[in-house]
Amino acid sequence: MANCLVLTGFGINCENETLTALKLAGAKHAEIVHISEIISGEKRLKNYQFIVFPGGFLDGDDLGSAKVQVNRFRHSLIDRIKRKLSDELMEFVEKDKLVLGICNGFQFMVKLGIIPMINNNGFQQTATLTFNDSNRFEDRWVYLKVNQNSPCIFTNGISQLYLPVRHGEGKFVTSTKVLSEINKLNLYCLQYADEDGEPTMDYPLNPNGSMFSIAGISDKTGRLFGLMPHPEAFVFKTNHPNWTRQEIGEPDGLKIFKNAINYLK
C-alpha cells in the first residue's frame, strides 16, 4: 500500500489540509514529516511512494519564493549518511513514484528543476514563477482548463477545474525554446481559463499573467506535477464559494488526489 509523505517546516503552512485531502482520497498511510526529520536522517524519502510539497511561505519567500528551500536541498547533507538531499530526491523521482507540488511547493519544484525536466540530465532550473503582474498577493477562485493530451496522471479524466489561487509569485516564465518544448510534449497540464474553459491572459481570470496561461506543468512521465492553485482547499463541498447557491458535485480538488492514490494502488 502506498506510503505518502507531506512535507512541512520552515514556513510550509498547508500540510494539515493536504493530509486531510490525501485521507479523503483514500490514502491509508499518509504522514506529515518535518524537513528536519529528513535532514537528520530519521525519515528517508525512499520509504515513501508519494511526496507532496504543500503550499506556504518557505523561509518567508525572503529571497524569492522557495529559493531558500532549493538552496537547502542542493547543499545540505543528510546527517547520518552525509548525502545531499537533492540526490536523495533524484533517486526518488527516478523510480515509478509520484511528486505533487502545490503553490509554494510548485515554485520549489520548478526552481529546483524537478519539472518540467525536459532533458533527463538531473535537476536543472529551466523555468520560474515570479511576481504577479498585479504585483499583489491575491486570493481568488479561478477556472482551469485541463490539457487532454497531457501525460499528467493527476489530471487524468478531468477536463475543467475550479480552484482558489493564493499567491503573489505565480507568474510562469520561461524561454521561448523551453516553452515550445513544453507545448510539443504537452507538459502544460493546466491553463487559466474563462468560464467557458477557454485559456485566457485577461486579469483576473488569469490572476498573474503567466506565459501561455500556464497554471500547472508536469514532467514527461506525468508522475511529477506542480500547480499554483490549491486543490487541497476544495475537498469539502462547503469550500466552494457558491455552495449556498447551487448543488456541488465531487469537489474538484479531491479528484486530483484520488487520481494519485488510485495510480499507486
Binding site: 512541512t8 517546516g9 520552515f10 514556513g11 503552512n13 498547508c14 494539515n16 489540509e17 486531510t20 485531502a21 518535518h34 528536519s36 537528520s40 506556504g56 511561505f57 523561509d59 518567508g60 519567500d61 525572503d62 529571497l63 529559493k67 531558500v68 538552496n71 537547502r72 542542493r74 547543499h75 545540505s76 547533507l77 532550473q125 529551466t126 523555468a127 520560474t128 515570479t130 511576481f131 504577479n132 503582474d133 498585479s134 504585483n135 499583489r136 498577493f137 491575491e138 486570493d139 482558489p164 493564493r166 516564465v173 520561461t174 524561454s175 490549491h230 487541497e232 482547499a233 475537498v235 469539502f236 463541498k237 462547503t238 469550500n239 464559494p241 457558491n242 455552495w243 449556498t244 447557491r245
Partner: protein, 987 residues
C-alpha cells in the same frame, strides 16, 4: 571588506514592482516617471572570497531565468537618478537574516555572529524628473525616517556601501536614583525624561515604599543600596503602565449624568464588563464559558472535546509611526496571545478592523503624520504579511473612515485558536508553575527594538515619541516557533507559557511569577542581537517572536533538543521561585529586587471624575432630494459603505482549508458577506461564526447608543448566517481619546463620561442579549498633540463576536438566489437618521439617534437564525450602514438578480418621508428571502412581530423601489455594483 551584490531583472523581463511604483508616484505625487527599475541589493559584511560571493550571488540570491547579478558594480547606465533605501542600525532585516542563513547552508559553515547581510532597494529612475522629485518620492512614498536611511545618486556618482551595523560603545551599566532627595518636580522630570509615563502619585508611592526598613535590610543582604536601580524603576513603570494595568478601567470614578445625578463607580471593568459576564454565567447551567478575563485570551467550549480561544488587540501608536511594522507586529503579537493562552492554542483565524482618515485626503499634513493613503497601504501590507506568511486565514474585518483618525489610525488585530480540552490528562486552559521550574525564553533574540512600547503607548503621540518603539515582526521565525511549541505542548514538556509583548520579559516573567510566588532572572543569559544593551533594556525590550515558558528541570534536555531540531532558539534565563520577590541578576549581581505584591498591587488607585452633558444638537433640517437613485449611488460609493475587496483579496482567507462562508460571496464572489463561517475540524461539520460591530459615527451623539448599536450589529451579522444567540460570546475593544482632565485636555471629564456610558450600555445589552464578553482590551490615549494642534479620535468601540454552530451546511449567505423568491424585512424602520451615512453625505448633524430594543431583536434574530438552519430562508442580510436601500442593492447585485420593493408595506413609524424610509439606520433590521412556497409559513412563524413581505426577487436587471403606486428608485444592478466597487478598487 563588505561585498555589494546587486540583483536586477534581465532585459525584456517586465518589472511589476517598478510598474506599480510608477503608477503610485503618478497617482499620489503627480510626478511623471518614464520608467523605474527596482534592484535588490545585498551587502555582505563578512570576510568571504570572490568565488564564494559569486556562488552566493548566482544561486540563492538570483533567479537565473529572469535575473542577473553584479558584484560591487557601478550604477547601471541609461538611468537619470537612483534612490537606495536601506534600514537604520538595529532595525529587523528579515531578508538579510534569511540571506545569511542561506549563505551558511551553501558554504556549509557558520558565519560569526557579528557578520551580517544587509538588504536595501535600489530604485533607478528614467525620465524628465528632478532631484527634488526623487527627494519627494523618497519622503512621501518609499522611506520612513524612523526605520530607514537613503541615498540619492545621479549618473556620475559612485554608490556608497552602507552597513547599518549596531555598534554600542558604552559598557552595560546600572544607574541608581536616590528618590528621597527628589522634589515633586524632579520626580515628574525623571518620569518624563525616561519615558516612564508614571504620574506624581505613583512616583510618591514608590518613593515611600523605598523608605520601608525591612525592605531596605533585605536589599542590603543582596548587595543593593536604598537607592532604586534603573532596572527596578523600568520594571515598575512597565508593570504600572496604563497599557498593562488598565488604570482608567480600574479607577474609582465619580460620575455625574446630564441631570446631575451622581454615583461612584469602583472600576468600570469590574462593575460592568466582568459583572455582566458573571451574571450571564450564573444564569446558564452549561460549561460554555471556560476561561474569561484571567488569561491572555478568552476561552469557550467548541464541543465536548475542544475549546476555542479568541483575542483582539490594538496596535495604534506603532502603526501611526510605521504602518507596515506596526500592523505586522500587531497581528503576530495577538497571535502570541492565543499561543500563550492556557498551555497554548493552535492558531486558526485572524480578523482585522482598521480606522483610517480619508485616503484621498487633500489638505496639508501636520508634522510627524503620514498621509492616510500611506498608512492604509502600509497597514494593509503589514497584516497581509503577518497573516499570510504565518499560514493563518484572515476571515473577517472592515475599514471605518473618519478624518479624526488622522492623528492616530486604529489597527485592531484579532486571532482565534483551538485546543483540546484536555492535554496529557491536564485541563489545557490552566497553567502550573512550581518552585524551581526553569524560565525559558523561546524564539527571537533581544535588541533595543520596542523599548518603552508599553509606556509610550500609554501617552499621546508627541514630539518626543521614541523611534525605538517601532518594531518589525518576522512571521517566519514565529511560524517556526509555533510549530515547535505545538509539538512541545503535546509532549507535555512545559507547564506554563505566555508571550513577550508589551513590557517584554519584565511583563511576561513578572506575571508568571505570581503562579509560583517569585522568580530569579539572570539577564546576562538572555541571547542578544548585539552587545552593549543595559540590563534594564534587556528586561523591557519588546523584540518580537518571543515566548516565555516554565519548563520543569526534568524536561529541559528534551525540550532544548526538540527546539534545536525545529531551528528555534531556546534559552534558560533563570528559575521560578517562591521567594515572594521579583529578583533580577546581571553577571551574578542583583540589579533588581521587588516584592511581587508591591510590583503587582502597589499601584495607587486612580480617582477620576466624569461629567455627562447632553449636547444640544441643532434641529435637523433635511433638504428635498429629487433623485433618490443618484443618492443611492453616492451612498454606495461612500468610503464607509463601498467595497473593500481590493484589500480583502490580499489576505489569504482560505489557508487551513476550513473556509465555509468567505468574506465575499454571491454569483461572482464579490458580495459583502455579513460574517465568516469556518469548519475547524476536518472530521466534523461543527463550525464557528465570526463577526463584528463597530460604529463610532454615533459617538458624537451618545456613546450609550453607540455601544448598544455596535453589539447589536455584531449579533445581527452572525444571526444572518444562522448562528444561535445562545452560543455566542464577544470581545470588547475600547479605543478612546484621553479621558483624564488636564490643562492640555480640558474636556477630559466629558470624555470619561462617554466611556462610562459606553460601559453602562455594554452591561445592559450583553445581559439582555445573553451574549457575554470573554476578553477585551483598551487603548486610552488616542490623541495627537503637536504644539497647539490636537486631534482626538472619536470614541470607538469594537465588538468582535464568536459563535458556535452545529452544522456549517445549515448556514446561508446574503445574495439573492432565485427569481420569484419573496423578500421580507424584520424590524421596525424609524426616522432614526442621526449619524447615518445619509446625513454624513449631506454633511448634516442632528436628528434622532437609532435605539436598540434588545428584547424584540433577540426574539427576531433567534427566529430568523432557526429558519435558516431549517432551510426556510435562502438569503439574509444585515441592514445598517446606508439603510434599507443600500442593503437591498447589495443583495441584488451580489446575486445578479434585480428586485421589486414596495415601501408602503414596510414596518415603519415616522413622518413618512421616503428618504428616511430608504436611508434611516434603525437597529435590529434584517432583510431575508424565502421561496414563494414557504412565504406563508414564514408569515405564520413571525406572527405578532414587525416582520413584513416587502417585495420579490428577480425577473429583471433592476432594483425597483416603489412607494405604493409611485416609483422611488429604478437603477440597473450592474450600475449600482459599479458605484459600490469603483472608489477603493485602485488603492
Amino acid at each position: 571588506m563588505a561585498w555589494r551584490v546587486v540583483i536586477s531583472l534581465k532585459k525584456g523581463i517586465t518589472d511589476p514592482r517598478g510598474k506599480s511604483l510608477k503608477d503610485k508616484i503618478g497617482k499620489f505625487l503627480n510626478i511623471k516617471v518614464e520608467d523605474i527599475s527596482v534592484n535588490d541589493v545585498f551587502t555582505i559584511d563578512s570576510k568571504l572570497t570572490k568565488t564564494e560571493v559569486e556562488l552566493i550571488a548566482k544561486e540563492p540570491f538570483c533567479d537565473p531565468i529572469i535575473q542577473e547579478y553584479k558584484i560591487n558594480p557601478e550604477l547601471p547606465e541609461d538611468f537619470k537618478y537612483f534612490l537606495e533605501v536601506g534600514f537604520l542600525p538595529g532595525v529587523t532585516d528579515n531578508v538579510g537574516k534569511t540571506a545569511k542563513q542561506s549563505i551558511e547552508t551553501l558554504l556549509g559553515k557558520k558565519l560569526p555572529q557579528e557578520d551580517n547581510v544587509y538588504t536595501s532597494q535600489l530604485y533607478c529612475f528614467k525620465g524628465n524628473i528632478s532631484k527634488e522629485d526623487v527627494q519627494r518620492i523618497a519622503n512621501e512614498l518609499l522611506y520612513n525616517q524612523l526605520i530607514q536611511q537613503y541615498h540619492i545618486y545621479s549618473t556620475k556618482d559612485k554608490p556608497s556601501i552602507f552597513i547599518p551595523k549596531v555598534s554600542i560603545k558604552q559598557k552595560p551599566q546600572v544607574v541608581t536614583f536616590n528618590l528621597y532627595e527628589l522634589s515633586d518636580e524632579e520626580l515628574i522630570k525623571l518620569s518624563k525624561d525616561r519615558l516612564l509615563a508614571l504620574n506624581l502619585e505613583e512616583l510618591k508611592a514608590i518613593q515611600s515604599f523605598y523608605r520601608k526598613k525591612d525592605f531596605q535590610t533585605k536589599r542590603k543582604q543582596l548587595g543593593l543600596t536604598d537607592e532604586i536601580t534603573d532596572v527596578e524603576l523600568e520594571a515598575i513603570a512597565q508593570t504600572w503602565s496604563e497599557h498593562c494595568k488598565h488604570k482608567i478601567f480600574n479607577a474609582t470614578i465619580l460620575y455625574e449624568d446630564e441631570n446631575g445625578n451622581k454615583e461612584i463607580i469602583k472600576s468600570l471593568f469590574k462593575t460592568y464588563i466582568k459583572a455582566s459576564t458573571e451574571k450571564i454565567r450564573k444564569k446558564r447551567k452549561d460549561d460554555f464559558l471556560v476561561s474569561v478575563f484571567v488569561d491572555n485570551a478568552g476561552v469557550i467550549t467548541f464541543n465536548k472535546d475542544w475549546n476555542v480561544v479568541f483575542k483582539v488587540e490594538t496596535h495604534n501608536s506603532p502603526s501611526a509611526l510605521d504602518p507596515y511594522g506596526g500592523a505586522l507586529t500587531g497581528i503576530v503579537g495577538v497571535n502570541r496571545d492565543v499561543l500563550g493562552t492556557g498551555i497554548g492554542a493552535k492558531l486558526i483565524f485572524n480578523t482585522d478592523v482598521f480606522c483610517f482618515a480619508n485616503p484621498f485626503y487633500q489638505e496639508k499634513l501636520p508634522p510627524r503624520i503620514l498621509h492616510p493613503q500611506r498608512i492604509y497601504d502600509g497597514v494593509v501590507t503589514g497584516v497581509e504579511h503577518g497573516g499570510n506568511k504565518s499560514g493563518i486565514p484572515t476571515i473577517n474585518g472592515s475599514i471605518v473612515f473618519d478624518n479624526r483618525y488622522l492623528g492616530k489610525p486604529l489597527v485592531y488585530c484579532g486571532t482565534g485558536g483551538i485546543m483540546p480540552k484536555v492535554i496529557n490528562g491536564k485541563k489545557s486552559h490552566e497553567k502550573f508553575i512550581n518552585d524551581g521550574d526553569l524560565i525559558v525564553m523561546v524564539g527571537g533574540r533581544i535588541g533595543k527594538d520596542g523599548i518603552h512600547g508599553a509606556t509610550f503607548s500609554s501617552e499621546e503621540l508627541h514630539e518626543g515619541s521614541p523611534a525605538t518603539a517601532v518594531q518589525i515582526g518576522d512571521p517566519i521565525t514565529q511560524k517556526k516557533m509555533a510549530d515547535f511549541l505545538y509539538k512541545a505542548r503535546d509532549l507535555g514538556l512545559y507547564t506554563a507559557i505566555t508571550d513577550n509583548g508589551a513590557g517584554g520579559l519584565s511583563s511576561s516573567v513578572g506575571e508568571m511569577s505570581q503562579l509560583s510566588g517569585g522568580c530569579e532572572i539572570e539577564l546576562d543569559k538572555a541571547p542578544l542581537k548585539y552587545t552593549g544593551l543595559n540590563p534594564w533594556e534587556i528586561l523591557v525590550s519588546e523584540s518580537q517572536e518571543r515566548m516565555t515558558l516554565a519548563v520543569p528541570t526534568k524536561n529541559i534536555r528534551k525540550f532544548l533538543k526538540l527546539s534545536e531540531k525545529y531551528d528555534v532558539e531556546s534559552t534558560v534565563i533563570g528559575k521560578f521561585t517562591k521567594s515572594g520577590y521579583f529578583h533580577v541578576l546581571y553577571n551574578e549581581k542583583t540589579v533588581a529586587l521587588l516584592p511581587l505584591d508591591f510590583l503587582h498591587n502597589g499601584l495607587p488607585e486612580m480617582k477620576l471624575t466624569a461629567k455627562f452633558t447632553k449636547s444640544k444638537e441643532p434641529r435637523l433640517i433635511l433638504p428635498k432630494i429629487k433623485n433618490y437613485g443618484q443618492m443611492l449611488k453616492d451612498l454606495l460609493s461612500s468610503l464607509n459603505v463601498c467595497s473593500k475587496e481590493s484589500v480583502v483579496r490580499r489576505y489569504d482567507h482560505e489557508v487551513q482549508g476550513m473556509s465555509v462562508i468567505k468574506p465575499f460571496v454571491g454569483l461572482k464572489n464579490d458580495g459583502p458577506s455579513d460574517a465568516a463561517v469556518i469548519k475547524p475540524l476536518p472530521e466534523s461539520n461543527e463550525g464557528l461564526v465570526i463577526s463584528h460591530g463597530i460604529c463610532p459615527k454615533f459617538s458624537d451623539y451618545d456613546t450609550y447608543n453607540m455601544a448598544a448599536l455596535a453589539l447589536d450589529e455584531a449579533i445581527r451579522n452572525a444571526a444572518c448566517t444562522g448562528a444561535d444567540i445562545g452560543r455566542m460570546a464577544c470581545l470588547d475593544n475600547f479605543c478612546w481619546c484621553d479621558p483624564i482632565k488636564s490643562d492640555k485636555n480640558p474636556d477630559g471629564e466629558y470624555k470619561l463620561a462617554l466611556l462610562v456610558r459606553a460601559n453602562k450600555a455594554l452591561y445592559d445589552y450583553t445581559i439582555s442579549y445573553g451574549v457575554p464578553c470573554i476578553s477585551g482590551k483598551d487603548s486610552m490615549k488616542n490623541d495627537y498633540i503637536m504644539g497647539n494642534l490636537k486631534i482626538s479620535i472619536p470614541p470607538t468601540l469594537l465588538f468582535s463576536l464568536i459563535g458556535v454552530i452545529d452544522d456549517v451546511t445549515k448556514t446561508t449567505t446574503m445574495d439573492f438566489k432565485n427569481d420569484g423568491d419573496v423578500i421580507f424585512i424584520a424590524g421596525i424602520t424609524k426616522d432614526e437618521i442621526a449619524g447615518s451615512e445619509y446625513c454624513n453625505l449631506l454633511n448634516l448633524k442632528g436628528g434622532k439617534l437609532p435605539e436598540v430594543d434588545a428584547k424584540l431583536n433577540k426574539n427576531i434574530y433567534s427566529k430568523i437564525a432557526k429558519c435558516i438552519r431549517n432551510g426556510l430562508i435562502n438569503a439574509a442580510h444585515d441592514c445598517s450602514d446606508g439603510g434599507l436601500a443600500v442593503a437591498i442593492s447589495e443583495m441584488a447585485f451580489s446575486g445578479g438578480k434585480g428586485c421589486i420593493i414596495d415601501l408602503s408595506s414596510l414596518p415603519y413609524i415616522g413622518s413618512g418621508r421616503e428618504d428616511l424610509m430608504l436611508f434611516s439606520e434603525s437597529a435590529g433590521r434584517i432583510l431575508f428571502t424565502t421561496s414563494y412556497s414557504n412565504a406563508h409559513k414564514i408569515k405564520q412563524l413571525f406572527k405578532g412581530l414587525p416582520v413584513a413581505q416587502i417585495g420579490k426577487v428577480g425577473y429583471s436587471e433592476y432594483v425597483e423601489i416603489y412607494n405604493g403606486k409611485n416609483i422611488v428608485i429604478k437603477e440597473r444592478i450592474d450600475e449600482l455594483k459599479y458605484f459600490w466597487q469603483k472608489i477603493l478598487k485602485e488603492l
